[in-house]
Symmetry: C2
Subunit: 348 residues, 2 copies
């Protein structure tokens, strides 16, 4: 028999989606912080900013003018990291210098004409319209036969590299499978081949039974802190129905996803009464590359804050060279998130 | 025939050490930056700070008093993330919740009694003494038969999570192989089994022939921007002799390593005339786990700055969810680093 206790003792946990491990140091929360304190971002933006390239009717870098849009607005990123017209090609010198041409499309989605809002400040109906656009864009990008993967994501807050506070997200679609998605593909496939079930469906069933890491659920989605979370308040939205991509969500599911996003991001904002920064994005089946019945749609939220609105977790030396590491347990984070209100602190 | 050009077109590159890919967008340097601008850290520290827990004769969190040391000073981290007395144990529920107890030792190494210095401001002889300590510590930690891996690293600058500007590094030693080291072990082993040679020796020979990515070399070490670099000015120090760990460096090699570290970090500081932040650390053979003849000692430098002393590269949404991405090529970075002086800007 052993006294080993996940709540107390340093341990590693397996990320079943990627096959990677993470180091957890539950005892280390007592460490005093004398390091970097982030500036908080001003949070009193006007509804319309004449200098913003996302606001309706404004000029963009390519000289074009934004329409006077009402809901969402989608356009090709003016500084796309992937381009449509990249010539095919590659390099392989002795298997030491290996490169492949990458072709892709990068789009930007403004979530709202209102410069002053963020997702948690929008209504469920408004967010459901964003979900609609994600679905339409996914379908449209998948219609290019050479596109193999579509990454839908949002960087929120300047601490997460977001260069414009106007509520918006991005889509990078490309002709190959990114590293993280390749890992999740392999792990889900393995499980499916061995057990005939969806890895995430089995995992979700276990989590819903245990309730230790579940933050909340609605009819179609559960929000939980994954057992293997890396970022302090990392969460995952998992669809209760096993669907391979956003393409298959019904109208009812789309509204339920909007509800889950809204309630989760409100809890986040309420954590430190600040506009809570994060990078978030969906993982779903690759496209135009055969059937992937094992893929189970989900959405990750990676927020950097650890102790307060100004102190984040640094993924640096040990983490970059060796292994991701965290100081609080997933169970502690879930409990904290469960205890937060679903009424936005600014609306009280 | 193809017009594909690594200097111009978006492409992915293979990291032969890990097997991972990275996305390169050479055309994207023209993107204007309207996002987060970092505060520069004050750089006028006193030689001795009575409030610093690393300065000689000061008190530490555990109540003990630092000796009046002259060279380096090593002690157990007062807020260790790994502990000696963790009970053995683990968890495996349906292969969905998987965890293992982790046991380890975390040490801190003050590089100098002087609070105001950093590695690039120390002499080669002074840095060589730090290399000596790294070697001794490696040997000492490897004498615990249950320790399997020893991670020597430094976080420099508050932007890299360093909470005390007094020049210092860390060592985290533990009973298992961290993720990154496991990947490098596998890749080097595969190459060795297939070709009978060291992967890094073969790679280094090719780079020294080409000179496109070499920054400089001395008799025993080469400093280069790896073909698959992720961070804008990422570099790697590779030993010319194939040794598996720091244990085997001769006195002459230790001085040559100090010379390489000094010249590289001076170039870094001169880049933006600022104390250049980075996380750096060695990768070397696991210990107490049989022979690893394929392991080839090297040291990575991961600096975050991209455009100036205040604008860094953000590894966020796409990078976290999909794939690391960079905006300048490794060749461009190497050329820039090659052009910099080896006289520190503060000493001119
Ligand atoms: O131990 P320190 O220097 O206080 O902490 C720093 O380095 C550690 C190892 O890379 C990280 O886990 C911490 O997030 C970082 O702030
Ligand atoms: O495209 P943006 O929003 O200007 O840029 C932001 O997101 C990108 C995708 O995650 C990152 O590559 C950039 O480093 C970040 O600043």
């Amino acid at each position: 028999e052993t006294n080993f206790d996940l709540k107390e003792h340093p341990h590693s946990r397996l990320n079943i989606l990627t096959g990677d491990w993470i180091l957890v140091s539950p005892h280390r929360t007592k460490r005093p912080w004398q390091g970097k304190v982030e500036a908080t971002q001003a949070d009193d933006r006007p509804q319309y900013d004449p200098a913003c390239y996302l606001c309706p009717t404004n000029k963009r870098a390519d000289g074009s003018e934004n329409p006077d849009y009402k809901g969402s607005f989608v356009f090709t990123n003016d500084y796309s990291s992937l381009l449509l017209n990249t010539p095919d090609g590659g390099l392989n010198e002795d298997e030491l210098l290996v490169a492949n041409s990458q072709k892709g499309i990068c789009r930007v989605i403004s979530f709202s004409p209102r410069h002053d809002l963020t997702l948690p400040q929008m209504t469920t109906e408004e967010i459901a319209k964003v979900v609609d656009v994600w679905q339409t864009e996914f379908q449209d990008l998948a219609s290019y036969p050479w596109i193999k993967h579509i990454q839908i994501f949002e960087n929120k807050g300047d601490i997460m590299g977001c260069s414009n506070p106007h509520p918006h997200g991005q889509i990078w679609a490309q002709n190959s499978l990114p590293v993280e998605v390749a890992k999740e593909t392999q792990q889900q496939k393995l499980h499916f081949e061995q057990k005939g079930t969806s890895l995430l469906a089995d995992y979700l069933a276990l989590e819903l039974k245990k309730q230790d890491r579940v933050v909340f659920e609605n009819e179609h989605f559960a929000v939980l802190v994954p057992f293997w979370a890396v970022w302090p308040y990392e969460t995952m939205i998992v669809s209760k129905r096993h669907v391979t991509s956003i393409l298959y969500f019904t109208d009812e599911e789309k509204v339920a996803l909007a509800d889950a996003i809204r309630r989760l991001t409100i809890r986040y904002d309420n954590m430190f009464e600040t506009s809570f920064p994060y990078s978030a994005g969906m993982h779903q089946s690759p496209v135009n590359s055969g059937d992937h019945p094992y893929w189970h749609w989900h959405m990750h939220f990676y927020p950097p804050l650890l102790r307060s609105a100004t102190v984040k977790k640094f993924m640096v030396g040990y983490e970059m060279l060796a292994n991701p590491q965290r100081d609080i347990t997933a169970e502690f984070a879930a409990e904290k998130l469960r205890g937060l209100s679903e009424v936005h602190y600014k609306a009280r």
